[in-house]
Homo-oligomer: 424 residues x 2
Amino acid sequence: MNDLRNALALGREIAARRLTAVKVLEAALARIEARDNEILAWKLINPEQALAEAMARDAEEPKGPLHGVPVGVKDVLDTSDIATGYGSPIYEGALPSADAAAVANLRAAGMVVLGKTVTTEFAMRFPGATRNPNNLAHTPGGSSSGSAAAVADGHVPLAIGTQTSGSVIRPASYCGVIGFKPSWGAVPRAGLKMLAESLDTIGTMANSAADAEAFALALAGRPINPTAPLDQPPRIGICRTVAWPNIEHAGSRGLEEAATCAAAAGAKVVDVQLPEPFATALEAHDVVMTYESRGMLAFECDRHWDRLSPALQDVMKRGMNHDWPAYQSALANRRACRKSLADAFQDVDILLTPSALGEAPKGLSFTGSPDFNRIWTFVGAPSITVPGLMGPNGLPVGTQLIAPLGQDSRVIGAAGWLQNLLQA
Amino acid sequence: MNDLRNALALGREIAARRLTAVKVLEAALARIEARDNEILAWKLINPEQALAEAMARDAEEPKGPLHGVPVGVKDVLDTSDIATGYGSPIYEGALPSADAAAVANLRAAGMVVLGKTVTTEFAMRFPGATRNPNNLAHTPGGSSSGSAAAVADGHVPLAIGTQTSGSVIRPASYCGVIGFKPSWGAVPRAGLKMLAESLDTIGTMANSAADAEAFALALAGRPINPTAPLDQPPRIGICRTVAWPNIEHAGSRGLEEAATCAAAAGAKVVDVQLPEPFATALEAHDVVMTYESRGMLAFECDRHWDRLSPALQDVMKRGMNHDWPAYQSALANRRACRKSLADAFQDVDILLTPSALGEAPKGLSFTGSPDFNRIWTFVGAPSITVPGLMGPNGLPVGTQLIAPLGQDSRVIGAAGWLQNLLQA
């Protein structure tokens, strides 16, 4: 059979009856059995239940190009048949009364939920047990730690991630896979344990831009019409952002390599400065995130304060220190950023920017800095990280591409083009 | 004891130990016992549990100005100790694992959850059993039917509503109470059964603007600092909107009466036309609502289609007929509306507009038209309906006030001023 890294290829084989959903699932379970005692990407798997689901899919007419493909679901999305813990001891073993809308949509597309992947506590900073498959001594990043590691290690071809700061792009970059954060609002969030209402975005982990896009469309309940690959090199704007002073050598060298590679392939590459409102966007994002997350977790703060990690308690305290006027002024900054972002795209199709400061940090207690991701989550622009480069420690270094809000297919097209170059 | 129509007064008496939360709750339960077999405002009450909660509040130091006050919670918000059915047979008897954030906040403020109030199916159009307390043969409006009726009939001084089209303002207008829809984003929505992510707003039913504001601040987890009453008449813009051709006699006469009354009290009153992007806002709101609600209810559509009402099935089908470009173009219309709304406020402080077409329609199968509410929900502007006028059938006719996004205290101040005039 095909390996477990190409979802659309698996779907094609299943649709042609050259492969079954059960066979693919068995291969995935075997890989997990062999590897996950070290990687610890999975929070909960019920093999019998997943096999029953796969058998049911094999008994049906294929419902679409991803029919029969097994996926991992980050454990902040509700599943009505698998306990959902949100990465917190408060909800250990709790069984939701419904699937999250995105999970219902992927099941309606014929996909098979293999199990729940490890998340940090409420998709915040306190880490789960997962290790980076490229080097077990390093963090996989977070908060979508298990989803990134599971895809990187070939357990499943696709997994769901969510991003409020940098929780899709960063772990994907650290683990060496594609991480795609669609435009804010593209994937419905009913049944997601919310962290910050105006920021939380459901995204996808995959091994190719085409797979990432197909999966995101399935999660959105939309028809899976693939974006055609770019037929000419895009006009690229290198965008260093206000986070640049903290860049590490691996990060700056990665950005340079990607830009050089793109230029050599015929892309016009220029430097782009973000408009003035972005100067304060990192601070404004932090105000919005901490203010809203204190609101979202009101029940947990009021009833279960002692069961929150000190790291989360600290975020909650910071959120309480922001009052309504401070929150409103951060929202005003966001409106100004959104409005002015068009200026950054006047002469370019796509922005090229680091996915993270550099390689995955050593150790499992710190999931790394999201400072190259937060402003894009803040404005809701679609972003994608493309693997293919390596840092000095032999760990992956991702390259991030950004398009304007609503232009999701533009980052997909450019990412497919760039991945071909970087992995050539 | 004080009657059950003034929450802040009850809170003051409780704080001064001249009254207890238990006594207030007992009075509320007695009123419900006497009246609710006809009104049918309540979905579920557990008197023993509510009394235990009230006793616990009486044993504490008051936590704020609403400590000990009993409230009704619309049955689309999760409660961890009262079954939460979302107005649908699918969830009949289901017990959530957490309180909604807004419910946690009101409990943290010392308020007592008396029980769950009737909602239409998933806060959409299919009605619950509730009747209008002013005339049992008429609809109370929806979707916050039980909350509006319970407050209007003096069961509780406060109740939670939610609005996606006109589900707070319209039932409040029909029942003759204050309905307050804060700015989009003001009250956290974790644990709300979502209908449309970018529209759903949690609001309050009350008998005065001051009570409505205090309760909304409690739901938001913010300090309860009351807005000072206006010390001079506001500059008022009469805004008839594109819904005007459908106005009924009671609605147009109500608007005229309110304007005349305000002018007689010294307010400068002028006509205001909404900027050009609002010409298509009703259609755009419908696209956003149906598209998003189909996404939110993906699980219910996929697994429980036959248990949805025909009315809801119709909304779901309309949502599926809108594709991503149609949704994006409706969002672009919203951005244009939001940006241009400032023009409407150039010479006025507040907009005055009908709360509904007229009085509550006869019959219980149709909850009335939300067309005078939808554009304000669409842009997220704070709105409030003020009681005090009557229509030809002896039923209440509300007057709606609108302020720019984020200017919640402005509608509160103006509503307090107007209510004094209309109820004088």
